[in-house]
């Protein structure tokens, strides 16, 4: 009896372990050639950088023919879906082909995971795509500083390269509207968004105090873009209160796309790529109003203590090169942070960077991150009332 019970328990343990391994192990695209001369290759870019700080990215060869990284491997993490598929085609595959590096991907980027990896000392993510609320100095204890001898900081749009992060893509928080619901009338500004008499129907809004909702309320209430920060939260909430019963909150990009596609809302604040997908992928009558768009970015960060820091920085430098940075726009309507990067001509009109005008607002991440808890407190108190 005892033997039997033990063997049953052992079976459980074994199956649990193998189950766990089976689900967590991501299939590596290619087996790393073990005989490759790793040491010499790894040392090359770092040495060069130390010897001549500006050499790396200004050297055209680095951007077109990056130094071999055969035998090395990187775990790159983003948000999955059409976005990561685009990044894979534009950056991950070409870089792996050019350098011989093995890139393992994960699709579950989360600030919390970075924190738990760094805190436990088990850092398995090397290069992570994060949202605009992460990677500022507040997270200094979790991240490696970006190596700006490899990343061309002077070519990146102002505000999109910081100590611990550099933008991966730029996008706009825009007003998307149903072109079939307003008898031909076109909403021109966030003020129209708040006018449910002129433009009837429900409104989709992103459910986070730091996700742009306070900014659009203030713009609608007549605050000039340059006077937006520091945010006048009570004023923003008073404006939001005027449409409170018409708000349908969303908290994922996919949800916002589905809501406007189904007609549950007639207007929504959306990430421009999602609004584009509602029209071009789901074939719904959805249009974008670019006036008063909020410019934001997703960022690359390198978790502190990763054993592959040098390889991560080199790949980051390569992706930020003008000749590579715009490649994603071929597959999804997100633009490059490198101001000299070429973008896909077909998708160019649908990129946030192509629609910058004097009403465009650049979101002040530093302000939002520094004040997040106060913003949350006021916003949640209003929202749950």
């Amino acid at each position: 009896m005892q033997i039997r019970s033990r063997s049953i328990a052992a079976l459980f343990v074994v199956s649990a372990i193998s189950g766990a391994c089976g689900s967590s192990a991501t299939p590596a695209p290619t087996a790393a050639p073990t005989a490759a001369p790793t040491a010499a290759v790894t040392a090359a870019p770092t040495d060069a950088a130390t010897a001549a700080p500006s050499a790396a990215y200004t050297d055209a060869a680095f951007c077109t023919k990056p130094p071999s990284a055969a035998g090395q491997s990187l775990t790159v993490v983003s948000y999955g879906g059409a976005y990561q598929a685009a990044q894979d085609k534009a950056w991950f595959q070409p870089y792996a082909a050019a350098t011989g590096i093995t890139i393992t991907q994960s699709q579950d980027s989360a600030n919390a995971t970075i924190k738990s990896q760094v805190e436990s000392g088990q850092v398995s993510w090397d290069l992570v795509d994060v949202g605009n609320d992460f990677g500022l100095d507040a997270n200094a204890n979790l991240l490696e500083p970006i190596d700006y001898s490899l990343v061309p900081k002077d070519q990146i749009l102002p505000g999109f390269a910081a100590t611990y992060r550099v933008a991966a893509i730029t996008y706009g928080i825009v007003m998307a509207y149903r072109s079939d619901k307003f008898a031909g009338a076109v909403p021109q500004s966030w003020a129209d968004f708040f006018d449910t008499t002129k433009f009837p129907g429900k409104r989709g809004l992103y459910d986070y105090s730091t996700g742009g909702v306070l900014e659009i309320a203030l713009l609608a209430d007549g605050v000039a873009p340059k006077d937006l920060y520091p945010l006048d939260v009570p004023r923003a909430l008073k404006k939001l209160d005027t449409i409170k019963d018409s708000i349908v909150w969303w908290s994922s990009g996919a949800k916002s796309q589905e809501q406007i596609g189904a007609g549950e809302v007639t207007m929504s604040m959306m990430w421009n790529g999602r609004a584009w997908s509602a029209k071009h992928v789901d074939s719904k009558p959805v249009e974008i109003q670019w006036n008063q768009q909020l410019m934001v970015a997703d960022y690359w960060v390198v978790p502190k203590g990763t054993p592959n820091k040098a390889a991560a920085m080199q790949m980051l430098g390569w992706m930020s090169c003008a000749n590579n940075n715009g490649a994603v726009s071929k597959y999804i309507t997100y633009g490059p942070p490198n101001k000299f990067a070429a973008v896909d001509p077909t998708n160019k009109p649908d990129l946030a960077v192509s629609n910058i005008n004097d009403t465009t607002v650049t979101v002040n991440d530093q302000y939002l991150v520094t004040n997040a808890s106060q913003l949350d407190e006021l916003y949640n108190a209003w929202k749950t009332k």
Binding site: M1, S5, I8, A9, A110, V248, A372, S373, T384
Partner: protein, 296 residues
Amino acid sequence: MSAPAAVKEGAGRAKRGPLISGWGSLAVPLLVLLTLAFLVPMFLIIVRSVTDPVDVGLGNYVTFFTNEADMRVLGNTFYIAVICTVACLAVGYPYAYLMAIVPQRVAGIMLVFVLVPFWSSLLVRTFAWEVILRDTGIINTLLLNLKVITEPLPLIRNTFAVILGMSQILLPFMVLPLYSVMQRIDPELTRAAANLGAGPFAAFRRVFVPLSFPGVTAGCLLVFVLALGFYITPTILGSARETMISRFIADQVQVRVNWGLASAMAVILMVLTFVVLAVASRFVKLRDVYGALGES
């Protein structure tokens, strides 16, 4: 469950010494797992709630209790959990009663009806409710097309939708304990009561209902405790006014990466749950005992 069994085994073979042996040893993996996966993390969370950020002391708790939204959402959480429990009992009790009195074969089919939703994902069921209830959903589209209504009925983004969605998910946790108790109630007892002059309703109310109390207690406690942890369903089916505390905890963990505050919130929810359970179980058990004595 396993602990008394282990003790019995040990007592029977007292001479051989080991407290846990034979079948009792089967409980060891679970005990180890519970310790590693539940007690240790719980302890770490309590520690974190007073040490993150360093020197925070009770600061996270002060932050929570002085925050208007947090207090309101905590209240919402218990309010919704109570309503949910009542709703599940109201629907589940007659259902379980019916299961207990119909032939076994029919009861089996009824059991499947309860369990089928139990086997599908919570997310799928919640999204299904959304598709049914929303302004452009099945019900409203149908009624609008039939010209029964001119404006969509407010079926979603309110307390009604949250209770509906949560109750459906939680119903099995009410019906199963109720059924398991009711099925063991001897039908002769109600018949005996009838023999002694009780009408059908009096016999049901004074004999059957008290005997079913252990099932009611178990079902209510299960549903209530599980309901306290919900946040996806209220987020999708409710408005911001139905926000529950787990949503705020998840936001602090995932979005704000403020684990100290998240830990404090989790500890508060846990302690309040224990308090409610302690009070409730005591109260219900007393009633239970009185009921049993009164009828015997």
